[in-house]
Amino acid sequence: MKIFTVRGGIHPEYRKDITSEKGITVLPMPATLYIPLQQHIGAPAEVLVVAGDPVKKGQMIARNQGSVSASHHAPTSGRIMEITEVAAPHPSGLPQTTIILESDGKDEWGDLPEPITDPFAVDPKAIHDRVACSGIVGMGGAAFPSAIKLNLGQQKKLEILLLNGAECEPYLTCDDRVMREHADEVVDGARIMAHALGTPRVIIGIEQNKPQAIEAMTRAASTFPNVEVVAVPVQYPMGSERHLVQAITGIETPARKLTADLGIVVHNVATARAVHHAVRFGRPLVARVVTVSGGAIRDPKNLLAPIGAKIADLVEFCGGFAARPESVVNGGPMMGQPLASLDAPVVKGTSGILALTAEEINDRPASACIRCGSCITICPCGLSPVEMSAFIRKDNLETAAKLGVMDCFSCGSCSWVCPSHIPLVHYFNYAKGMLRDQESDRRKNERIKLLAEVRVIRVEKAAEAKRAALAAKSKPAAEAAPSGAAGEAKAATEEKVNA
């Protein structure tokens, strides 16, 4: 298969050999699990349990609410201790509502939905519903509810399901191990997803630095003529869905469009495996493979950790720290976010926990830009980081937005390549946050304006109705008039608010 070239990108030291030969080890069930209500993009789930409730493994403890959301399930059997605020696995370290579950040590499964024995014979809706009630989210890191992505087939004609096994972030080997050890499950999950999406073809893209995974996946896919495994060049950020699509099809996804607009839907390999479990066995997403690595970890491992295990538990199981970590990162070293506390839990989007030494981070004070243009050459989105950062430094966000700062997906290549150590991606993260704030303020102001206008109309109508009622007092025949007018005003208000 022809592979197309992708603009920009970098070749960092991958350091995947630290954990790539270490098989998936099961983390012993911690005594206490912390399950946040918001582990995904969208609205937080709605709590279904109260403190003191006994729960079984796989029982739904929080239900999705709103159009974009995901439900959560008990990762083991035990008792709900408390529902309270706990530090989130987030760079801010701010608390978020979390269900605390005390394990009873039995790890007993509860009543699960019936397995779908022949998923290719059922309606795509049944697969979609199963994925939605199993709480599956994108496990590559973005944690977007998968059921919504599987629904895209209803709205658009789709050609290809692209399974993302690129794993371009240095250090991370969790997807590599999943593909090597559970290739059949991944391929089966992918075929089920393709059925739900209505895509005739499945392409599995894996970076060339994972030959064993490519071999295992090719073997697993060999019996299915519509499933193809493709080795893609080793180039960060190949694992970005837009760039992987470009490498496979040669088409660049336009800004502010989805890959689905090109007829391609991208899912992570671990997500496909979770779909396999949900459909074939009725098991919800309650555990995931996490790479625990970095120079400061004594015994780096790939762990199968229950959702909600404290990061400190994982670090302890890996022998603790051998050196002082300068930073503990949630995710990969390029796009991962520093953790404020080791007490935060593993969530569905946690692909790696990296304890990095000062040497690995290589943080130095920034010096002046020497106009070398490296950041422009390597930007995989074709942006001009040097120019954008100069405007953002002066808080000229409007110009930065015109230059396309919102199209930056924070891959960090520019910061990595900059010889002057200018925190370029940090500027863009700041600018994107500020621009999003401004946008939400603007939307809120618009809504407020509408509410105020509607109120004025209602008050006027009510006053009119009162006058009419006074006038009608002399004529008792027109008794029904005031309530009629008020009702009309209310209907008009509702109409306007709904619009």
């Binding site: 918001q38 989130a88 987030h90 760079p91 801010s92 701010l94 978020q96 004070p365 920034a366 010096s367 002046a368 953002i392 808080d395 200018i422 925190p423 940090h426 500027y427 993260n429 700041y430 994107k432 946050g433 500020m434 999003r436 704030d437 401004q438 303020d441 603007r442 809120k444 102001n445 809504r447 407020i448 304006k449 509410l451 105020a452 206008e453 509607v454 109120r455 004025v456």
Partner: protein
């Protein structure tokens, strides 16, 4: 034949005369509309809260457009976004330092103090308070724009203004600190 000509001629004459009169009147009695005022009005939050000291948003916009009002930072609900937009529109340099200290707030009803008098409900210009006579009231935070008009009317001081909490959803990275921490050498001019 002549009848037709007379009819056409008289109608043309009437048309021309009336047209001239109307045209002259439109010039003579034209209402001067300031497009800037309209534009500014559209930018305002439109909730008529009156915190700027004017009766409503239109009056503040009018005063700004006519140049009677020099300060563009008087609109509290509009916040920093509005000040920046006004500053760009009117070319008035905005003093954002005073504004930045004030974090966005919304009203909050201490429910144990609420007696259900509905006074705040009548005051709220965006219908952000839910409640009924002798029933506890509460604020619909999404609809509240922080004008604080409800605070003084409460007979039991049950309404307070609270800042929006910082959460994992609305948090974003702060601006990187100054890059060059080394002090710059002072430039000495040789005369």
């Amino acid at each position: 034949m002549t009848g037709i000509l007379i009819a056409i001629g008289s109608l043309t004459l009437i048309g021309l005369t009336l047209g001239t009169v109307l045209g002259a009147a439109a010039r003579r009695f034209a209402v001067k509309e300031d497009p800037l005022e309209e534009e500014l009005k559209a930018m305002m939050p439109g909730s008529q809260c009156g915190q700027c000291g004017y009766v409503g948003c239109a009056q503040y916009a009018g005063a700004l457009a006519k140049g009677e009002e020099g300060s563009i930072t008087k609109c509290a609900p509009g916040g920093k976004v509005l000040v920046e937009a006004l500053s760009a529109k009117l070319g008035i340099a905005a003093d954002l330092s005073a504004l930045e200290e004030k974090v966005p707030e919304h009203a909050f009803i201490k429910e144990e103090l609420c007696i259900g008098c509905t006074r705040c409900i009548r005051e709220c210009s965006t219908d952000a308070i839910l409640g009924a006579n002798k029933l506890m009231h509460t604020i619909i935070v999404d609809a509240c724009h922080g004008c604080s008009k409800c605070v003084p009317v409460c007979p039991t001081d049950a309404i307070v203004m609270v800042p929006y909490p910082e959460t994992v959803v609305n948090w974003h990275w702060p601006k990187p600190e100054r890059e060059n921490t080394q002090p710059r050498p002072e430039v000495v001019h040789a005369h």
